[in-house]
Amino acid sequence: MGREIMSEIKRDHIHKLISKGRRVDGRMWDEYRPISIETNYIESAEGSARVKLGNTDVLVGVKSVIGTPFADTPNKGVLSTNAELIPMGSPNFEAGPPDENSIELARVVDRGIRESQMIDLEKMCLEPGKEVWMNFVDIYVLDYDGNLFDAAFLGAVNALKTAKVPMEAHGKGEDFMMPIRCMPISCTAVQIENSILFDPSLDEEKVASARLTVTTDENGDLRAMQKGLKGALTIEQVKSVIETAQRLGGDLRKLVG
């Protein structure tokens, strides 16, 4: 992912523009591509969202099934996040078991949702120690043009927020909306030379040396972070990314219904 070959001429072009403080598609360094979110896209899912972030296209769905809780959390529902980089999405995605890229994507999204305690999992318990709701958040990448982390995260929180727990279908009483406690938002930036760019496109990801994803809550508090790629960030860059993520997170949160 993002490690494919790229023509030198394109690479030089991106570098040259960045040294002048510009980006290939004319965006500002902290500007996101156009975002569209369609919730309740799939009727067979408890909740779903199709997110387009520029040309990146991600479909996220939530399915809830009844299962047994983990022994150490007998009174809590279960949350499980899975990402599929299906071969439809990019010439470089291959069919088969999840590779390291899709596992990292799923785990970073999962961490943001879990650590922010977005879902009140105690309300997802039917009978302590015996029956709880197990919620599967499945992420499918339909078209890959960079910044899967933020597209998938927006998809996941939107799908969860609009999800209805199917109590009736299981003869357990009335359906209820997924118990949401807060609305975390993730913002991802990459470093190219010494510049920081938010919402990297695929071309930008290909030349990037480092990546940082920051997940914040409504208060601007940090809930999860992930540094990726082989380069290094300075302390100043880390701080700058966090401060910008706090500001941009507020803007992006308005897009969540």
């Binding site: 799939i42 067979s44 296209d57 939530v62 399915k63 299906i86 439809m88």
Partner: protein
């Protein structure tokens, strides 16, 4: 087939539970060129089915030993996403999707001029986003539009539809309830120009007369779907005469 004919799926006036007559298709929407990365793509909605198809290739044939020095091979992967059905489906291929992938690959290979691209693979990916009976037909319908969108020379498009038997009557384009409680299901696909059948399966119980009736209904439905497929491609590649007079590329392609 459940074969449970106690469930009343067609009323005394011949109207089905979704309001259709026995010879009526569900609403169909076809769009070509919906993805950026893929060389060709298409989106198909048939009733509540939502299916995406993407084509990559002709490109290097991946398991090398599958290469054919004389022609291209068509490799289709049909997949249902985990939340496309009511009970969550475990991600990854199962025996059903492997079989469907195989028959769709074979149907497509027949229409593609594979001898034009020796040693290569034409990869077709079908993702069922939402399933409501008839997904393999929707998938094949989408896949052939995606191949055309990828600019791959073909004999013809392949429209596909399922016909079945419900409450003792032959009906067109089964929905989920009819598929679950009906008495027969016949997915089929044909080449409209020649009338050749490139996909045909059947399960359940039909008399020979009923099968002939089913085939007849399917044939005329394929013609309707064929027109929708062509219309989707026309919409995708229409060049308006007034549009972009400054764009030299558009102009020259019009002259050509």
């Amino acid at each position: 087939m459940g074969g449970n004919s106690d469930v009343k799926l067609i009323d005394d006036n011949g109207i089905r539970i979704d309001g259709r007559t026995v010879e009526q298709l569900r609403n169909i929407k076809i769009e070509a060129g919906v993805l950026k990365n893929a060389d060709g793509s298409a989106y198909v909605e048939i009733g509540k089915n939502k299916v995406l198809a993407a084509v990559y290739g002709p490109r290097e044939c991946h398991p090398r030993h599958m290469q054919n020095p004389a022609k291209a091979i068509v490799q289709c992967k049909y997949n249902m996403i985990s939340f496309s059905v009511n009970d969550r489906k475990r991600p990854g291929p199962d025996r059903r999707s492997v079989e469907i992938s195989k028959i769709i690959s074979e149907a497509l290979e027949y229409v593609v001029f594979t001898e034009n691209y020796p040693r290569t693979s034409i990869d077709v990916f079908i993702e069922v986003l939402q399933a409501n009976a008839g997904t393999r037909c929707a998938g094949l319908t989408a896949a052939s539009v995606a191949l055309a969108d990828a600019g791959i020379p073909m004999k013809d498009l392949i429209p596909s539809i399922a016909v079945g038997k419900v409450n003792g009557q032959v009906v067109l384009d089964l929905n989920k309830e009819e598929d679950n409680f009906g008495q027969a299901d016949v997915p089929m696909a044909m080449i409209p120009r020649t009338g050749e059948v490139v996909l045909l399966q059947m399960d359940g119980h039909l008399t020979y007369e009923e099968f002939n009736r089913a085939l007849e209904m399917g044939t005329s439905a394929c013609q309707i779907i064929y027109d929708l497929q062509k219309d989707a491609l026309r919409r995708r590649y229409r060049v308006d005469a007034e549009e972009d007079p400054a764009e030299p590329e558009t102009e020259s392609s019009q002259e050509a």
